[in-house]
């Protein structure tokens, strides 16, 4: 495995020259950043994995165009959030075409089976996922970037390409929507 202390800029330069090992190191370095965004937006599961992979494939294709004015973390998050928003649109279209409306909630709230957590933590996870999935995609993006990824309002605005005021108003509306669903967890 390549040294973790090699700067991103060096790895980028080597990756541009066709060094796959250098690009792989970048993937390993930033996969958790991308995972936090796509799983925050879509929930865990195959769809999030696909969007995560697609994020790095798009980045690979854009290697020569990427200028290091933006940080790599921000750049990857921007790709991940845009691909996640597209995936949410596809999901909505699919559900509206193929699934009865009363089943939609159940599917949208699928927490990603296969993890044997304790019942309590599973319940918390499902409650939070269910609450987040009730948000509009744009509100979900703001909540993911601000509360999960920890970006500032300014960074969130930059990633989404909207004014800071829009970020604040979307976050405010999202929080008010989340509050009643997460109230029991706040009191616990």
């Amino acid at each position: 495995m390549m040294n973790d202390r090699i700067p991103d800029a060096d790895l980028l330069e080597r990756a541009r020259g066709g060094d796959h090992a250098a690009f792989r190191t970048l993937v390993e370095r930033y996969e958790n950043v991308v995972a936090a965004t796509v799983i925050g937006m879509l929930g865990p599961g195959a769809e999030a994995e696909d969007v995560g992979q697609e994020t790095f494939i798009r980045f690979y294709a854009a290697l020569t165009r990427f200028r290091e004015e933006a940080s790599l973390k921000t750049y990857l998050t921007r790709i991940a959030i845009n691909l996640s928003l597209n995936a949410l649109k596809r999901r909505k279209r699919f559900l509206s075409l193929h699934v009865e409306s009363d089943l939609m909630d159940t599917i949208e709230r699928d927490p990603g089976a296969g993890q044997e957590d304790r019942a309590e933590s599973r319940e918390v996870r499902e409650t939070v996922r269910s609450a987040i999935d009730r948000l509009a995609p744009k509100q979900k993006a703001v909540v993911t970037l601000r509360l999960i990824d920890g970006y500032s309002t300014r960074e969130t605005a930059e990633i989404l390409g909207v004014p800071e005021g829009t970020v604040l108003s979307r976050l405010s509306r999202a929080l008010k929507k989340l509050q009643p669903h997460l109230q029991p967890l706040m009191e616990a």
Partner: protein, 112 residues
């Protein structure tokens, strides 16, 4: 009613800690496999596209070849001692006179 900042402070950790947001192990390997597949795909696609174009042109080229051969055979015939192949290819009969004529055409002032 809680202020937005207080609400964000209260809900942030709950949302952040609710689920494990990591990919299954081996994610970077799967990404690299996909990249390899996608970067090699255009080369394979080009060669198979060329193969398809070639197969499409083969019957046309064969038909043209047959037509030209038939035209040459009908036009020249094989009566002048030519082989069937020479006639089909539309070659002039080779005689001592034609050989000398060819030789003269290459010599200086041969065409004068």
């Amino acid at each position: 009613m809680m202020e937005d900042r207080d609400l964000a402070d209260a809900l942030g950790p709950i949302i952040r800690d609710a689920e494990d947001r990591r990919f299954e192990p081996g994610f970077s390997h799967r990404v690299m496999e996909k990249i390899r597949a996608e970067t090699e795909a255009p080369i394979i696609e080009l060669s198979s596209a060329l193969g398809r174009q070639f197969l499409r042109l083969v019957p046309i080229a064969a038909a043209v070849l047959v037509a030209l051969s038939a035209y040459s055979l009908l036009g020249l015939g094989t009566s002048s001692g030519q082989s069937l192949l020479e006639a089909a290819l539309g070659l002039e009969p080779l005689t001592v006179e034609t050989a000398y004529a060819l030789d003269q055409s290459f010599s200086p002032g041969g065409n004068d």
